[in-house]
């Protein structure tokens, strides 16, 4: 017996050593496999995000050889800059329209599409089409539709005896028109998300409601559909607001922020400051504000979803 235990000892040790080398081999290959990703992440994401924040505290401009820390100067300038506030307010306005209209609209249309079999697939296809159309190209189409003299919209309006407007050149309407295009672009996306949420509701719940005598319509929506859509609604709200805050394409093509900055938005302002006037550090500080808003929305999402995930 004792002989056996003596001989088994070294065997055990080699197993241990082999195990350890297997573990370190796994470590090595794991790092090797993630190395390209890590390197590129540092080069293109982590490094840049830190340098944008750092830049916003300097006075550096493209082409300058020396760089000075100026503390909060850029932010001070921003607070005093009426264009920034216009852009900020316009962006909020844009989000304030696109978010509720495309989310509630998406939900209502999804409910309406899913209540009956007929034409279900066709409607889904059609409403999703704007999501697929290249927004830049479609913006050019919109510009043509909104053209005051021979644009489709005004022609249709005049058919109904209404007089159209110069939609994109009117300080008072331009942001609503842009928001309208935003809704057009986003609603189908939300519709599809809501549809997938609706399809994921177990049909046994509706059958249980049938047995329990829950009337059709509102009671049923309130008892089952709405609570079950809770998590997906949060997703939709967050994604829509992030997308809406990133509005750029339509503004760049249709208005360039005009007329008179009445359609200026954060990203477009950052673009013009950074890449047209080359006021790099000032653009960086606008970027930081933009980033802060996006992070805020994401944090809200994470908090809420962690809470909601329990059921």
């Amino acid at each position: 017996m004792s002989v056996a235990s003596v001989t088994s000892l070294p065997v055990k040790n080699t197993v241990l050593v082999e195990n350890m080398s297997a573990v370190s081999r796994e470590q090595r290959s794991a790092w090797l496999l993630s190395l390209p990703a890590i390197a590129l992440m540092i080069l293109f994401l982590i490094g840049p995000i830190l340098s944008v924040i750092a830049l916003s505290f300097t006075n550096w401009q493209l082409g300058m050889t020396n760089i000075n820390w100026v503390g909060l100067d850029n932010y001070r300038e921003m607070i005093g800059d009426s264009t920034f506030w216009k852009a900020f307010n316009n962006t909020l306005m844009y989000v304030g329209i696109v978010l509720p209209v495309s989310v509630i609209g998406g939900l209502l249309v999804a409910l309406l599409v899913e209540t009956r079999m007929a034409g279900k697939a066709l409607y889904r296809t059609l409403f999703f089409l704007p999501v697929m159309g290249t927004l830049i190209a479609m913006s050019i189409v919109w510009e043509y539709i909104l053209q005051p003299d021979f644009g489709l919209l005004n022609m249709v309006l005049s058919k109904f005896g209404m007089s159209g407007e110069n939609w994109l050149n009117d300080k008072d309407t331009v942001i609503y028109v842009l928001a309208g295009i935003g809704v057009w672009h986003q609603l189908g996306y939300n519709l599809i998300l809501f549809t997938s949420g609706l399809l994921a509701i177990p049909c046994h719940l509706y059958e249980a409601a049938d047995m329990d005598g829950v009337p059709h319509g509102w009671s049923r929506f309130q008892l089952i559909t709405w609570p079950m859509l809770g998590p997906i609604t949060l997703f939709v709200l967050v994604i829509t607001s992030i997308k809406a805050f990133q509005v750029f394409d339509t503004v760049a093509v249709l208005t360039q922020g005009g007329p008179g900055k009445s359609s200026e938005v954060l990203l477009h302002l950052m673009y013009t400051e950074g890449f047209e006037f080359f006021r790099t550090s000032y653009a960086a500080s606008i970027t930081v504000i933009f980033l802060f808003i996006i992070l805020l929305i994401t944090v809200i999402k994470i908090r809420f979803i962690d809470k909601r995930v329990h059921y």
């Binding site: 599809i192 996006i294 992070l295």
Partner: protein, 275 residues
């Protein structure tokens, strides 16, 4: 039953008229692309043109500007972006999902943090980097910043998590190297997820305007969205027929692909909802 019929009809009425509004820009775009100029400036609503001018409009769109070149640029850029994203993301995703290593947690948290970074927020440093590398106004400049997709890593990791460990153990016993496991075992099982991701990535970058606008200058490097804007400002200030023809050509590939493979496209596009 009467109520039911009424509701059905009302439903179709509402949905069909909404759908018409949603489709109007597409319809109007295609209709205008085959209209002669004099009918475009007509101050009356005419849907079907009296004279078919599609041939000349599309000819102008394709010859006055190198529209096909823009399309080719778009294809090269989107495919290159997708392939490099896969090459970078898949091995990392495998390591995160299936291997044990020190720092795994930190790496994953870093990826989750990077998920929140909108690409516009890092465009200034990207521009400076591309300038340093001498990649402004080149394919490299269009592709390189997007070669890392943290979303791709996250997505593939989630997918690889569902692959049973036994499959990997079996592959190791069969003598596969780790890299061999990634490309010969994991990737084939992940084809559906890769297709969805591919659609997501290609659609996003075909339609992207912000970054190409910053990094590209010369005519021969323009991507489709830049191309159609350039066409509008250079050639066709007011010639809406050819302009709509150009827009149609640029919108068509994705729309047609979507109509042919709807389910896959919807899966791919809505995938960002999973974040």
């Amino acid at each position: 039953m009467g109520y039911d019929r009424l509701f059905s009809m009302l439903r179709h009425l509402i949905l069909a008229s909404l759908a018409l509004i949603f489709l109007a820009p597409f319809i109007w775009m295609v209709v205008t692309s085959i209209k002669p100029e004099d009918e475009i400036f007509l101050n009356e609503l005419r849907i079907i043109p009296e004279r078919f001018a599609g041939y000349e409009n599309y000819r102008i769109a394709l010859t006055e500007t190198p529209l096909l070149r823009f399309m080719l640029n778009g294809l090269i850029v989107t495919v290159a972006i997708f392939l490099s994203q896969v090459a970078v993301a898949v091995p990392a995703a495998y390591a995160l999902a299936k291997l044990q290593f020190k720092g795994k947690q930190v790496l994953f948290i870093a990826i989750l943090a990077c998920l929140m970074i909108p690409p516009q927020a890092v465009s200034i440093p990207w521009y400076l980097l591309m300038y340093k590398f001498g990649w402004l106004d080149s394919y490299a400049g269009l592709v390189a910043p997007f070669s890392i997709s943290v979303f791709g890593i996250f997505l593939m990791r989630q997918f690889f998590n569902t692959v049973p460990d036994d499959l990997i153990s079996a592959a190791r016993l069969d003598g596969y190297s780790e890299l061999g496991i990634v490309w010969k075992i994991m990737v084939p099982t992940a084809i559906p997820a890769l297709i969805s991701f591919g659609i997501f990535s290609i659609v996003a970058h075909w339609n992207d305007y912000f970054w190409p606008l910053i990094v590209v200058n010369s005519q021969e490097m323009l991507t489709p969205p830049l191309g159609v804007v350039a066409f509008k400002s250079d050639e066709a200030g007011d010639s809406y027929g050819p302009l709509m023809a150009a827009a149609t050509i640029i919108v068509a590939p994705l729309v047609i692909a979507y109509l042919l493979a709807q389910k896959r496209f919807i899966e791919g596009i809505t995938m960002s909802g999973m974040k």
